[in-house]
Symmetry: C2
Subunit: 371 residues, 2 copies
């Protein structure tokens, strides 16, 4: 097959308009995406994988800017738990982001200049609607499964709630059906850090060539702590010093954990747009699947034929197990088929991205049962 | 008694020099402090209360800048658990801070200008040594008790380890014997937020009249989240909106928790110096009582006659109960008299500052037994 719609590093401009939860419309809607494997003639083997806050469509191919392996290469590929010899896998950059899909850095057709803060505030459901347009374009009616961790898990839930007829199975890992006050609080710190950077210039920094990297780095540092467990940080870093024998009694990065965090912050600014960080954190904070369904989460899944698989990690304090359990209770109340497992890991929220034979077995097993 | 050394809003310039753990010397050493109650003729009824990171000497008197009641007025006063009809209570601003004690905003005698980052990096033990100088000045040889929560608890432990003969009893609340990797990580985020603010100017901002308030506010916001429990935030704010019926699809503080955090950040900048925040967080990160005693915490207390009372709160994730337990195990190994209680509270780390009849009883009981 040499269908130009399929393959790595694809990009499509969909005319739209895409109606948005905030009342506006996005037109055109650009989407950067990748596909892996071969679409079955009946279109029945498609799996959509949804990425997390700062993720991208480079699911199992090297990242174009960092050169690092795809963010879930260990999960997706030939012979992997999501086996591309069998499944046709799609991963699309969410709208609001900055790796090929429409976001604040995209050109506003009304002005010919980057949107900046004129980009409309979007929601998780808007991201999902954009993905649905992409699937239409790819000729995929119904997904064998939608799979995601963290914000990807929210999209997976939103897919099942918004397009129940298009989703056979839903895998939601290390996620939640709504953002908690603490989740919102951490994001607000990040947004304030970006907006406090004078280089942010009200979001209009693209022409300057000098983006608010310092503020974005601080935002990333604060968020990064929430991705790791206290025990994991202690095991990995403890109070170990960084390339020195003794404390310097100064403000250099004496401790390895300081050096690590600073590096995480700086490296992030090379690959991510500060305004996209504002927009996507906002979409996350706005996410409340129950609210979209009359305040009762079970209503989001009433009468659904979709099968659900929920996975949490015991040391994840960003989206703790209790959040997954809330979803399972709602699925049970709605009479939906749901399996749930809490996995043990020392790595906190990040566990879903890391080597985990148990997670591999859970996902491969759940997808296998779907045949 | 009209001894000018005693009373509210006292300030003393001690010639020093005060030798510091970092190798330098502080001279003179200024200390802002308050005393409550009357010192017994034999000097035997003195209790030193140590404050937390952003605390001050206004333990039970209104704060001079905010007008708010003293930070532990509910604990200290006539008829209170620390009863000033019986005890002579001293509270001193720690060195490094900005409410009357020597810190980066103080004048460097070598230049006649504020120290800024030329102020020496100090440790918790340095703070304690400065307090010991103050007690000498006040004519107090031996403390009936040293009491503190959070960073105050670290000072209390450091007092017992550094001057065992001067401490009859030690009360350490919601604290730890060393800063964990996660603790350091959160502080590093705060420091980077301050240093990323162009108004910080390498710490030399005093003459500008325009301090790095935006960076300091972000630092405070990040830290403030760690003072509260996830459950407490959910109970207090949940996803409630701030003075509006619906989400605005913008970047205003739609959620109450955002508005609250922004307020906390801004209000803090009115009363605290950004450089002091850098220095005191550094002192906290450097704190490791075991390291000061050959790597074994029990060595810090070997042969001590001091009685110890440890208190933790079950929802405190900044200094969780496990940290207090580590201290208790070391005290047991050292053969010290130690009592320990974990209290239940929905309020996380902040619980030690809030209404807690159980905490009141524990402290009053422990001090009463000391007579």
């Amino acid at each position: 097959m040499s269908d130009p719609r399929f393959g790595l590093a694809r990009h499509i401009v969909l005319p739209g308009p895409l109606p948005l939860d905030g009342g506006g419309r996005l037109a055109p809607a650009e989407i950067g995406y990748e596909t892996y494997g071969t679409l079955a003639p009946d279109g029945g083997n498609a799996i959509l994988v949804c990425h997390a806050l700062t993720g991208d469509q480079h699911l199992a191919s090297p990242h174009p800017r960092t050169g690092k392996p795809g963010w879930w290469a260990r999960m997706v590929g030939p012979g992997r738990p999501i086996d591309t010899d069998r499944w046709f896998v799609v991963c699309a950059n969410v709208i609001g982001s900055c790796l090929g899909s429409s976001g604040p850095a995209s050109l506003d057709p009304a002005t010919g200049a980057p949107y900046g803060m004129a980009f409309p505030v979007i929601t998780i459901r808007d991201m999902v609607r954009a993905q649905a347009l992409l699937l239409d374009h790819l000729g995929i009616g119904r997904l064998a499964a939608v799979v995601g961790g963290s914000m990807g898990g929210m999209q997976a839930l939103s897919w099942a709630a918004t397009f129940p007829d298009r989703v056979q199975a839903c895998v939601c890992i290390a996620s939640a059906a709504r953002h908690s006050a603490q989740n919102i609080a951490f994001h607000e710190v990040g947004r304030q850090a970006i907006m406090a950077d004078p280089k942010w210039r009200g979001g209009d920094y693209y022409a300057s060539g000098d983006p608010p990297a310092a503020g974005l780095a601080v935002a990333r540092m604060a968020a990064h702590i929430t991705y790791l467990s206290e025990a994991g940080l202690t095991e990995k870093f403890g109070r170990k010093l960084q390339g020195r024998e003794a404390k310097t009694f100064g403000f250099d990065a004496d401790f390895q954990v300081e050096s690590y965090l600073r590096h995480q912050g700086l490296a992030f600014t090379d690959r991510f747009d500060a305004n996209s960080y504002l927009y996507i954190t906002r979409a996350l904070d706005y996410f409340d699947l129950a609210e979209e369904h009359g305040g009762l989460l079970a209503n989001a899944f009433r009468g659904t034929a979709t099968r659900f698989c929920l996975v949490s990690f015991d040391t994840d304090w960003l989206y703790p197990t209790a959040e997954s359990r809330t979803i399972v209770h709602a699925l049970n109340a709605a009479g939906a088929a749901a399996s749930f497992v809490e996995l043990s890991s020392p790595f906190g929220h990040d566990a879903f991205l890391l080597e985990s034979p148990t997670l591999d077995r859970v996902i491969a097993g759940f997808l296998g049962n779907g045949r």
